[in-house]
């Protein structure tokens, strides 16, 4: 059995939303009781509409945001107890917007070298050598070492961000929509690069995307999120061939719409996305669900295992209790 890299159990994150001076505060459950297990070498895709909590979950996994409840282990260690520098050696992010993720005041060389500096590497020759090796790995010419981000194209910037994430050779990479800010022509280059790097460096990925074509191309497993909850999780081939949850079915149908790569999928779900401060009772998806039953509006479904897969819906599993 391959070893478990990430294990999240019952992870929850609440935000306290102030609604003006006299109306008090409300709790927003951005992530609500998520269970996840990712093994070494897997590529887990996290999909779902905008606002369903993907970025929040990614930030928790990166240790950038504390969870409200639940526990996460990374390589068997509880993430909240791992020292900052050790955590940075285990897991690194790649962000969506390479125009925001690179400090405009720093040269490419010092951006990619920063993780080594922070880890206490003093030898500037060693840093330079490693930075240039990594630049080569991600397909950046080493003449860009002294350039500044504003002199680079979007695709090159994203390669810089990837190089920064990889320079200390972490185990896990969390990519938050790594291609959605890029030109269509560059997107597949970056995806192929990520695929190649995974094989070469034996990495584990968590990739957030709302582009299902991307997901099918790169992921080994897919987790579907809706309103902070994981509603379905399965192997990619399985999920695309036999989607179980009505929400997943709707998401997949949206891929067939004319321009699937353009941002948020048109799910053709009649009702609009609910307000996350005021989620519906019972199953959060029932107001938009094509196969809703009476119990869906009163009772939250329990998760059910279907072989390797997981689904949270009243249509499946034993509902007699």
């Amino acid at each position: 059995m391959s070893d478990v890299m990430i294990n999240a159990s019952n992870v929850t994150r609440n935000f306290s939303i102030s609604r003006g001076m006299f109306r008090g505060k409300k709790t927003l459950r951005a992530v609500n009781g998520v269970n996840l297990t990712v093994k070494r070498g897997e590529v887990l895709a996290l999909v779902g509409e905008s606002g369903c909590g993907k970025t929040t979950l990614a930030k928790i996994l990166l240790g950038l945001l504390p969870q409200t409840a639940g526990s996460i282990t990374l390589c068997g260690k509880p993430i909240n107890e791992v020292p900052r520098l050790e955590l940075a050696r285990l897991v690194q992010p790649i962000f969506q917007d390479p125009y925001s993720s690179l400090n405009p005041r720093k040269s490419i060389g010092s951006i990619i070298g920063l993780p080594m500096h922070v880890q206490g590497v003093e030898d500037s020759h060693a840093i330079r050598r490693q930075v240039e090796t990594t630049m080569d790995l991600v397909g950046l010419p080493s003449r860009l070492f002294g350039s500044y981000p504003n002199q680079l194209s979007g695709g090159q910037r994203q390669r810089v961000a990837i190089a920064r994430a990889l320079v200390n050779r972490p185990q896990v990479i969390v990519c938050d929509e790594p291609t959605s800010a890029l030109d269509v022509s560059v997107q597949s280059q970056i995806l192929n690069l990520l695929s190649d790097l995974r094989k070469e460096l034996n990495l584990t990925y968590i990739i957030i995307s709302h582009n299902l074509a991307v997901v099918e191309h790169i992921a080994t497993r897919v987790a579907v999120m809706y309103l902070g909850r994981l509603v379905e999780e399965a192997k990619t081939t399985e999920l695309f061939a036999r989607p179980q949850h009505p929400y997943t079915v709707a998401l997949l149908e949206s891929v067939l719409t004319p321009e699937p790569s353009l941002g948020i999928p048109n799910t053709q779900l009649g009702a609009s996305y609910p307000n996350p401060i005021d989620p519906p009772n019972g199953c959060a998806f029932h107001p938009r669900c094509a196969r809703a039953m009476p119990q869906c509006s009163t009772q939250a479904p329990n998760g059910t295992r279907l072989g390797q897969a997981f689904v949270e819906c009243h249509l499946y599993g034993d509902e007699s209790h």
């Binding site: 930030k59 990166l62 240790g63 950038l64 900052r84 520098l85 955590l87 940075a88 050696r89 897991v91 690194q92 992010p93 962000f95 969506q96 917007d97 925001s100 993720s101 690179l102 400090n103 405009p104 005041r105 720093k106 920063l114 993780p115 922070v118 880890q119 500044y148 504003n150 002199q151 961000a161 920064r164």
Partner: protein, 269 residues
């Protein structure tokens, strides 16, 4: 921008080299040669190019030494208020929450105090001197620094490179110094020039009211003040230091705008 820098650099050079540049001792009184007009007046002479004041002191020499006082007060007050305001603004912008509430409250308190009146009151109580004026102005002029640094930091904090630096393991102080500060520094430069100019004008106002630096120090504001009684018949006594003040403040502001344009990262190629 170029004109501004040339004027500012010239004034700084004059201030630094005052002992070499000044034709006379700025404190030497020659009561026999009081109120000599400048050289362009028919009664003027090349001995005193800008004439003499009511105590017979060489006006050009006093103007040159006065540049020292103006710059010293302007820069000193801006440095003190810059440190206070930048610290408060960056902390408020980066940490938000309670810290931001406290800083915002302090800014509001500060903005509700009239600078000139408070400065006058303090100087009247503890007595006027160069150090007192610099300190008082420094403690009063940090509001703009705090406001601007707070909003710039707020904007930078949400950038992904700050999150990336944290994910890479940077400590909070490293994030603030290496990631946030370099990106707010051009705003800081602009505010610094504005506040230097502001402090120079306030010093002149305080000295004019007799509560700034004390005679016989040759401050430009004090020179205007001492000349005001003779304004009708010896107008150069106030126009010369007045024009000097105006030029310096204008030049500093021009230079600040230029420096901001140069240091913007978009201009690096």
């Amino acid at each position: 921008m170029i004109i501004g820098s040339v004027i500012v650099i010239t004034v700084i050079a004059i201030a630094l080299l005052a002992p070499l540049m000044a034709p006379h001792d700025p404190y030497h009184q020659d009561l026999m040669r009081r109120l000599v007009p400048p050289v362009w007046d028919s009664r003027g002479s090349w001995e005193h190019i800008l004439g003499t004041d009511h105590l017979g002191r060489d006006y050009l020499s006093r103007l040159i030494y006065g540049a020292r006082i103006s710059l010293l007060i302007g820069i000193g007050a801006a440095v003190i208020s810059g440190i206070i305001g930048t610290f408060m603004g960056v902390m408020a912008g980066y940490f938000g929450g309670r810290v931001d509430m406290v800083v915002t409250f302090l800014i509001t308190v500060r903005l509700s105090m009239p600078v000139v009146l408070v400065a006058l009151a303090v100087v009247a109580i503890v007595g006027g001197s160069l150090q007192v004026v610099v300190t008082v102005l420094g403690l009063l002029l940090w509001d703009r620094f705090a406001v601007v640094m707070r909003s710039s930091t707020l904007q930078i904090r949400s950038m992904d490179y700050v999150a990336a630096a944290r994910a890479v393991g940077c400590s909070t102080s490293r994030v603030l110094i290496a990631e946030v500060m370099p990106n707010v520094v051009n705003n800081l430069i602009v505010i610094t020039t504005i506040e230097i100019a502001h402090a120079i004008i306030l010093e002149a106002a305080l000295s004019f009211l007799g509560l700034g630096v004390q005679p016989p120090l040759p401050s430009w504001g004090l020179m205007v003040s001492e000349g005001k009684d003779m304004m009708l018949f010896e107008p150069w006594l106030i126009t010369i230091p007045g024009v000097a003040l105006f030029m310096l403040v204008l030049a500093i502001n021009l230079m600040g705008d230029g420096v901001r344009d140069i240091t913007a990262p978009e201009n690096r190629n």
